[in-house]
Assembly symmetry: C2
């Protein structure tokens, strides 16, 4: 199989929704744009050995790549619209491609986000997705909208994926934690529901404190956080001692949960949202004026917000 | 510098057009979509050692990456709208990044196509661009529209870039040819002007015959080509003997010219277009019914259309 056979076999046969008038196979895909909506666009690269272990299965690679990209849409309150897939792999391994393609298609289907274009090249394994979403004009949730007095929330549990990474290769690896690392669930429905409620949002990929700190920098505010309210899963506290679990939750990364701010007027609406979506939404603290730092409520001291960084 | 410093320093400072309400620096860019227009999207990866020599300067890397991506828009008749840039590089080399960033920005400016998002990761050098363009609804030029009796055209000269690759590292390398390889010029204005004129189009990246063959396959037709009309530059015929020059023009690739079909009624319009744009448009033959093969008019025999292929 050469690249054209591979592309034909694996990526040209998906059904396209009506708004995709030309799917993969031409120089560009052509998409009809919904009226009164804006386009949200984000791109993310995952590299073997950095963003997933060299031993990761093609299903894990697909799930992590799509999950991370959809998570960026979730943070904007956007609905999935289309995605392009640029895959670099060392050889035309049919079994690998078969499994990867099925998993990619499952991700695309699950989130109703057609793979409208792609590229295949030979090289070390890496995958770059560019995801597009739509939001009604003016309703995208930005990082920059947090104000003094807003509450700070986080969805789901923190630290599970990082806990799994710490356990990778161990015989006692916790299946619950591992699944959170291998199949992150983008909070798309939450993001959409937060339009008009959240004043700012970001998805947690680098670590809760690092990403909260990006939000604070964009909004030019600070935050005070109560560590007692950190949402730690039972699996995490069973697998690690308390200080380690808290550190994983604060700095671990790969959670793909949403961190968002909202005016206290919305507390009731957010509580209802948590119930409707069956998703824990923890109120961790509040936005304060001043430098973009995160203060530990108990100690009154600044927390180190450094997350994972390339080139550092 | 870590990745955030690099992104801040090189990619967050560009001026955005009014339709980009949120540029790089949030989870997604947010773009207002023009009314009554469709979106064209394409993604392309360039890998060091495959798509450019390991020794290529950052300026050549940027020019080739942007040129190749814009060329896909040109083939659809689309106007540039926005582009995302995912860069993987082995180290945070400031000089390299500085030159690459200036060249990328120059490409974005020259084609009025803002870099709306990006990603930076550590690994072997590669670059994935995802380009977005717009066309008035229903006016995208597809590969699938060629009909029996249509003329077959190609823009510019063929084989120059492939000739340059053949000469890479040689002391007698021809500067004219080299510049065609290092700084391909996407035929965006031509593509836009061909809306309503061309029945089908494709850009030439894999080689004239290979790409014409893709167009024929999509259109379910064949073509007869007169090799005497192949546009060969003076530089190419000076640097190579005639058979080699013809082979480079037919199979060399990296031309980023447009190959298109058009009804004979448009001959006058196309001749005028060539004059207005100062761009050679050569009529090479015609579309015929039957299998998607290219026949040599002189010999009546089928030409081998295989171009460059990964994994073959």
């Amino acid at each position: 199989m050469d690249e054209f056979d591979i592309i034909r076999r694996y990526f040209l046969n998906a059904l396209m929704p009506e708004y995709v008038s030309t799917g993969p196979g031409d120089d560009c895909a052509v998409l009809t744009v919904p009226t009164d909506h804006s386009l949200c666009v984000s791109t993310d690269t995952l590299i073997s050995g950095t963003h997933f272990p060299h031993s990761a299965s093609p299903v894990v690679v697909a799930n992590r790549a799509f999950g991370a990209n959809f998570s960026d849409l979730a943070a904007m309150g956007a609905s999935p619209y289309g995605i392009t897939l640029a895959l670099t792999l060392p050889s035309g391994d049919e079994t690998w491609l078969d499994q990867f393609s099925v998993a990619s298609q499952a991700q695309a289907d699950a989130h109703q986000c057609p793979v409208v274009g792609g590229n295949l090249a030979k090289g070390d394994l890496s995958i770059t997705l560019t995801v597009m979403g739509t939001v009604p004009n003016g309703s995208a949730i930005l990082r920059s909208g947090a104000s003094q007095g807003d509450d700070v929330y986080v969805s789901g549990f923190l630290g599970d994926a990082a806990g799994a990474v710490r356990q990778l290769g161990s015989f006692n690896a916790n299946a619950q934690l591992l699944s959170r690392y291998e199949s992150p669930v983008p909070r798309l429905a939450l993001g959409i529901a937060l339009r008009g409620i959240a004043s700012a949002a970001i998805d947690i990929s680098d670590g809760f404190l690092a990403d909260l700190s990006h939000l604070l920098t964009s909004s030019r505010v600070g935050a005070v956080i109560d560590l007692n309210h950190l949402p730690l899963s039972l699996s995490l506290v069973e697998a690690f001692d308390k200080p380690a679990a808290i550190d994983l939750a604060l700095r671990g990364g790969d959670d793909y949960e949403l961190c968002f701010s909202a005016h206290p007027d919305h507390r009731q609406a957010i509580a209802e949202l948590a119930e409707v979506q069956g998703l824990r939404l923890s109120r961790l603290g509040e936005i304060v004026s001043g430098a973009p730092v995160v203060v530990n409520k108990a100690s009154g001291r600044e927390l180190d917000t450094l997350g994972y960084r390339h080139f550092s």
